[in-house]
């Protein structure tokens, strides 16, 4: 052991800002997977707990003793059992700890892949990384370690959409009117003129062009003809 540690210190871990790591997960198999990955990355001072409350107490105690943890890797969902828990979920734990100790790095490692949850954790609770449990989960843990140690945040690729500006596939009555005129055989100029005449706003050519572009994307259409055909299929016009 001593030899190993000495070797590590000598070699220097690539993540020298994480000398002390805590894993919170209620499944031993998962914990051991992460543990092995971390060890392979040259981290050795790793401990694990099965309950959020335990994680919280351990981190608090370590701070009191002047030997704080640098990184917490936590699951979100913990099975409820006979033990009464004050903190019931990884989200509670991350939120509380980030509030009290913003300097502590937290990587969330969860099966949960809903954008909203990811967004809340990253943007609101300021966790450093969000890794989705999956086939590439352990690889992504490595990537997350690298990113966080560089002071960046990390999110699994399949969840990247969560952090992008909001996307919608929304159309409204204006778009439907546009489609109707298109179906009537009007070209963009004529539609613009028609809208001006009927006081439908916006009616500028550039806006109409932009809207039609958007509609083509929405309706998976290569050109105006296909756009009209697809809209007709869906009974919009």
């Amino acid at each position: 052991m001593k030899q190993n540690r000495a070797k590590d210190l000598k070699q220097g871990s690539p993540y020298n800002m994480f000398s002390k790591v805590l894993i919170a997960d209620d499944l031993n198999s998962i914990t051991s997977g992460v543990l092995n990955t971390l060890k392979a990355e040259g981290l050795h001072q790793i401990e694990s707990v099965h309950y959020c409350d335990d994680a919280y107490l351990k981190i608090k105690a370590a701070i009191r003793e002047g030997n704080p943890y640098d990184l917490l890797i936590t699951d979100l969902s913990f099975k409820a059992d006979h033990r009464e828990q004050h903190l019931r979920s990884g989200e509670d734990l991350a939120q509380t700890l980030k509030k009290e100790h913003p300097e502590l790095c937290i990587i969330v490692y969860s099966i949960e892949d809903r954008f909203q949850k990811v967004r809340t954790l990253i943007k609101k609770h300021n966790v450093n990384a969000y890794v989705c449990k999956g086939r590439n989960g352990l690889d992504e843990i490595k990537k997350a370690l690298q990113a966080v140690s560089r002071g960046e945040s990390y999110v699994s690729p399949q969840l990247a959409g969560a952090l992008r500006p909001k996307t919608t596939m929304e159309i409204n009555d204006y778009d439907v009117e546009l489609l109707k005129q298109l179906a009537n055989g009007l070209n963009q100029d004529e539609i613009s003129a028609y809208f001006k005449e009927h006081n439908i706003k916006p009616s500028s050519l550039s806006t109409i062009e932009k809207h039609l572009q958007k509609l083509r994307t929405r309706f998976l259409a290569k050109n105006a003809t296909q756009l009209v055909a697809n809209a007709k299929d869906l009974g919009l016009i």
């Binding site: 099966i111 892949d113 809903r114 954008f115 909203q116 999956g134 086939r135 959409g161 909001k166 996307t167 919608t168 596939m169 929304e170 159309i171 409204n172 009555d173 439907v176 929405r218 309706f219 998976l220 697809n230 299929d233 869906l234 009974g235 919009l236």
Partner: protein, 552 residues
């Protein structure tokens, strides 16, 4: 042989007799009414009034049993008249008051005017005799206000004149007599005319005004012609007094004797007493006259005492009546209150009952939903997870096939379990539901399929209740899962419409469509709608896409 039947002829005769006597009884009833009426108006024998009283009292009792108010009033009127004639003034008063009470209880009708007139006139007469002048005047005037016919007003004016003459207010009396006289120049109303004639000129005759005696004699003659015994008595009495005043003692005694004979015929104690008093007054013996004066004052005294007693009795009765009426009112109010309370209690019970039934219904539907969900999850775990795991297990038993495709299989199973978990996981309904829903829909977007929403951003989700929001979320989730699995659609459009607290969602895709299948997913959709009392329609045909619209 014994005759088994009585002679049929006897039977027929008996029946005829019964019918005859019954028919007689019918006519006799009317005849006797007429007969006794005449007896009241013109009693000839000593016991006519009593017989008439018994008859009308029986008639009244029968009318009361039949609840024939009109007949009751008629009979009471005659009874009241008889009672006056018999000198039973207080009884007569009571009867007259009973008539007025009956009249008051009737709904207002013009025909009642005449009855009121009679009743009040009767009371006026009674109080005159009881020497309650003020009351008498009061009731005469009241009666006059109900008077419609001239002849009736003549009678009343005459009566009022009489009253003032009693009080020695000769001027007032004359005024009434004159008015009555002016109205009574119609020869058809002879008896009234005779009465007015007599009354109007009596006083003048007493004063010795020449020619006035002729008027009195004319009245007497008319009364004789029409056999008006009471009127005639009045004429004889008046003439006797006039003769006495004129100093013609013999003539006076003569008239007084005639009056006495008439009083005997009329057989009214009142008349008889009056006749004796007249004889004594005109007589020569001063002792008799003194005796009469003393008797009169004693009578007056007794009458006063009686009146005081009667009014006391009346007041007590009235007070008792008021107490009774108050109690009755209280009782009525209490009954009313109890009725309202009963209604409130019934409404409450019905309300509770309805509430209970609705809750039971909701609970039942909820239980069904839970049961369905459980079955569905269990089935999914069995069909999608257990089978796949078994497949991987069999694969692993063949050593050579162990390669990366096992990992692929496992990843697939992992994804499936995650999907199952997501289908049933917690939905954040309170905060930003629009975004939650949008994310659900976006999750079904990929290179091959676009889920487009229309007007979803116009929906104000905060006014829609959580059960509906949850249902919208789950239904769309199920429809889209179904779409992904079966239809191969490339475009889906979901149109949202809001009407206050109701939301309508229209789903349409360009997929394969199908003959309507209600397995699993769709059955579940229907259950959700049913629980929330919503409506749903499906429209699908192979090759024409799938369309559904639901309102919650």
């Amino acid at each position: 042989m014994k005759p088994r039947l009585t002679n049929p002829v006897v039977v027929v005769v008996f029946v005829l007799l019964v019918i005859h006597s019954w028919a007689n009884a019918q006519t006799e009833s009317n005849d006797s009414l007429r007969y006794y009426y005449d007896k009241v108006i013109q009693p000839n024998h000593s016991d006519d009034l009593l017989k008439a009283y018994v008859f009308f009292e029986n008639q009244r009792a029968e009318a009361q049993i039949r609840q024939d108010t009109a007949a009751m009033i008629y009979n009471l009127q005659l009874i009241s008249i008889i009672e006056i004639d018999l000198g039973l003034l207080y009884e007569s008063e009571e009867t007259a008051v009973a008539i007025i009470n009956l009249l008051d209880a009737q709904p207002a009708h013009p025909n009642l005017q005449e009855e009121y007139r009679r009743a009040y006139n009767q009371l006026g007469r009674i109080y005159r005799q009881l020497k309650h002048s003020d009351q008498s005047i009061h009731y005469y005037q009241k009666s006059l206000s109900y008077t419609q016919q001239r002849i009736d007003s003549i009678i009343l004016l005459n009566n009022m004149g009489n009253l003032y003459r009693d009080q020695n207010k000769e001027d007032l009396a004359q005024a009434y007599y004159t008015e009555a006289y002016a109205k009574s120049l119609n020869p058809l109303e002879t008896l009234q005319y005779a009465r007015i004639l007599h009354n109007r000129f009596y006083n003048k005759a007493m004063e010795g005004t020449p020619g006035t005696i002729d008027s009195l004699l004319k009245a007497k003659k008319l009364r004789e012609q029409f056999n008006d015994q009471r009127g005639l008595y009045s004429s004889f009495r008046g003439l006797a007094m006039v003769a006495h005043a004129g100093g013609n003692k013999e003539q006076a005694l003569n008239y007084a004797e005639n009056a006495f004979q008439l009083a005997l015929q009329i057989n009214s104690l009142t008349f008889l007493k009056d006749a004796y008093a007249l004889k004594i007054e005109l007589g020569v013996n001063p002792d008799f006259q003194n005796y009469k004066a003393i008797t009169d004052s004693l009578d007056n005294l007794r009458l006063k005492e009686q009146n005081a007693y009667a009014s006391l009795k009346y007041n007590v009765a009235k007070e008792r009546e008021q107490t009774l009426a108050f109690k009755l009112q209280q009782e009525r109010e209490r009954t009313q209150k109890q009725r309202y309370q009963a209604i409130i209690i019934i409404v409450l019970i019905i309300g509770l009952f309805l509430f209970y039934i609705l809750r039971l219904r909701y609970k039942k539907a909820k239980e069904l939903e839970i049961y369905n969900t459980e079955t569905r999850i269990s089935k999914k775990v069995h069909d999608e997870v257990a089978n796949d795991v078994y497949r991987v297990m069999t694969k692993l038993q063949e050593p050579k096939s162990f390669s990366s495709d096992v990992l692929d299989d496992l990843e697939e199973i992992y994804t499936k379990t995650r999907d199952i978990s997501r289908e049933n996981s917690f939905i954040d309904l309170d905060e930003n539901f629009a975004e939650t829903l949008n994310e659900l829909l976006l999750a079904y977007n990929n290179q091959n399929c676009n889920v487009i929403t229309r007007n979803s951003q116009t929906i104000r989700w905060e006014v829609i209740n959580n059960n509906k929001k949850r249902a919208v979320y789950r239904i769309l989730q199920e429809l889209l899962t179904n779409m992904k699995k079966h239809s191969g659609a490339t475009l889906v459009i979901i149109n949202f419409k809001q009407n206050e607290k109701k939301i309508t969602v229209e789903y349409r895709d360009n997929g394969a469509g199908s003959t309507l299948h209600k397995k699993n997913g769709l059955q579940n959709v229907e259950n959700r709608i049913f629980v929330l009392n919503g409506t749903i329609t499906f429209e699908t045909e192979p090759g024409k896409g799938f369309k559904t619209r639901f309102t919650l």
